[in-house]
């Protein structure tokens, strides 16, 4: 049993890992990620890669919505920007994979910066609707700027190749996506130990007060938009390498809502919440599919109801978490941890 953690310096109090236990757990998590491919099923590898791409993107939206309090309904459009950037540069110039991904993030960040501009004048839900408008306009550009985006047919993406190794299958792509995910999630965690991250949180909690204590709302809101879009862009770029085709219909408006739901269900304003949310929301359709298969002997029609039931459960999860557990899965996780940290005593 651990009684408490005495901190003797501010640095320790602000540390990335506050206790040795956390370090051990993190080590175990890394080991699990490295050992995961041993399961040998390329289907599981595909799911794992998809989950990690969604983790990156959800973490990005979490920075904007969960930490800075700016709701975005256009997150998927930034992913699309990243995917198109990768398709364009890799397809046209054959530039190296890592450079493409950085470019994908940078271009998305630039556009995110532009989309964030109205946040100077409008905020809250008006801003959310402005991001929706931006997503519609981006969709129009994807469809009609044919020389760059390939128009309605979209672009094909070459296989990701690093040091002569073709990352054609999810099994191999995993080794590209997994380290990037770990790095980006840790970077996000670190962001909130800095002045910038604290400014974001201050803006979320009370923007007027934040401004009064000297935080430039304009600068930090735009920075939050840019960082969030950077994450979306990188995720979109990896998505492009996984599916190897990008069309205007690859990232529908519904996808933006998916990420928003992942943030809410996971827990807005915590990094681990973004991870939980992305994993949970990506895997839940798979789980529903399995349970429907199991029900077939009793309800032969189970499968036909799968899609509508998926929609209903998706919506009910959003509503249910907002009403009953607004801090999301992360809060449940925290309570569980707390329980065991103090076990056998009760709080």
């Amino acid at each position: 049993m651990r009684v408490g953690t005495a901190k003797q310096s501010y640095a320790a109090d602000e540390g990335l890992f506050k206790t040795d236990t956390q370090k051990v757990w993190f080590g175990l998590l890394l080991a699990a990620l490295v050992l995961f491919p041993l399961n040998g099923s390329s289907y599981w590898m595909f799911l794992a890669v998809l989950v990690m791409i969604n983790v990156i993107s959800t973490t990005g939206l979490n920075i904007l919505t969960g930490y800075t309090g700016q709701v975005s309904l256009g997150h998927a459009a930034f992913m699309a920007v990243g995917a198109y950037t990768v398709a364009f540069f890799d397809g046209r110039f054959g530039t190296p994979v890592l450079l493409n991904l950085v470019l994908a993030g940078a271009v998305a960040a630039g556009i995110g910066y532009l989309v964030g501009l109205p946040s100077l004048r409008i905020k809250g839900l008006y801003l959310a609707i402005a991001t929706l408008a931006a997503a519609v306009i981006l969709g129009f550009i994807f469809l009609n700027w044919t020389p760059v985006t390939g128009g309605l047919r979209g672009l094909n993406v070459p296989t990701a190749t690093i040091a002569g190794i073709e990352l054609a299958t999810p099994d191999r792509l995993y080794w590209l996506v997994m380290p990037i995910t770990v790095v980006m999630v840790l970077a996000a965690k670190n962001l909130f130990r800095t002045r910038v991250g604290r400014a974001f949180i201050a803006i979320r909690d009370r923007d007027i007060s934040a401004e009064i204590i000297g935080i430039s709302l304009f600068k930090y809101k735009l920075m939050s938009f840019a960082i969030s879009s950077f994450y979306a862009g990188v995720a979109g770029g990896l998505w492009a390498y996984l599916f190897r085709v990008v069309t205007p219909e690859s990232f529908p408006a519904l996808a933006s809502i998916f990420f928003l739901a992942a943030v809410i269900v996971g827990g807005a304003g915590t990094i681990v919440g973004g991870i939980f949310g992305a994993v949970f929301m990506t895997l839940i359709p798979e789980f529903l599919k399995l349970s429907a298969t199991a029900l077939v002997p009793w309800f032969p029609d189970a499968s036909i109801y799968l899609a509508p039931v998926r929609n209903i459960i998706f919506g009910l999860l959003i509503i249910g978490f907002l009403i009953f557990e607004p801090m999301g899965l992360a809060e449940m996780w925290r309570r569980t941890r707390r329980y065991f940290a103090l076990w056998p005593f009760r709080t």
Binding site: G69, V71, P118, R121, I122, G124, L125, Y126, A128, I129, A130, L132, A133, A134, V136, I137, F140, L143, N144, I208, S209, I257, L260, A261, I264, Y305, A307, P308, V309, R310, N311, I312, I313, F314, G315, L316, L317, I318, I319, L322, I323, P326
Partner: protein
Amino acid sequence: MAVEFIDIVETSLAGIGTGSLMALTGVAFVIIYKATKVINLAIGEMLMIGAFVFYGFSAGLALPIWASVPLTLVVAALIGGLIERTMIRPLLKDNPVSVFMVTIGLTSVLIGVVELVWSAEPRRLPEFLPSQPVLLGDAFIPSKTAYSFVIAAAAMAVLITVFAFWRGGIALRATATDRAAASSVGIDVPGVFSFSWMLAAVVAALAGILVGSVGGISSAMGLFGLSVFVVVIVGGLDSILGALIAGLFIGWLEAMVGRFMGGEFKLLATFTILLVVLVVRPYGLFGTHEIERL
């Protein structure tokens, strides 16, 4: 290509016809916003479920129109009340962003329910509007456009009268102006919340029946709600008059853009206007400019 004058007139009339339906749906949105300050992203889906309930009564159970319409409106009111009590009320004291996201979840639930009961296939409503086209001078107006315009206009006249004279309508306006004051003069504020959602659901269902009779119904018809957002933002979130004028204007604009530039530019045009209005005049043309205080 020379643009004929009669062409412009006809396109404008058709656009205003569609615009009247947007205006009606916009009014439903405004009723909810005025009373509960909730931005209801699911307004398009509330319209959709109204249309499907009507389909269930009129085509599924084969009831006559004069019975189906009132039954639909009653069911819609119940659905509206249910949504308010179970999903909105628990969160009204929280920040508006949470409630907003609840309505996003509601979107998905309503689509799921419709697909569960009626499947995702597109359907047509039984014909109940006269099919004789209307001629206004030389200008030709498709019958459904004309009659749905008349019905929408009548419904709006009723609503405006209700707000102006009926006790319930006045209570709603009082609550919108100042909740605490309304409560202290004996207005049942939670009752007004429920009432506003029920009324909005009824109005949306009526709009759904009209929209469905013009273009058929499907689980994707909630997309109509996208144009309605533009309408209410342009008009001002809390202004019935704004929704009316902006509705007619956006309907007209979409028709003109569709006619003279092509259908692919419709959404682009309306959303560009939306962005401009948001940046230049965020509270809309007729909305109340809220001043934020600490």
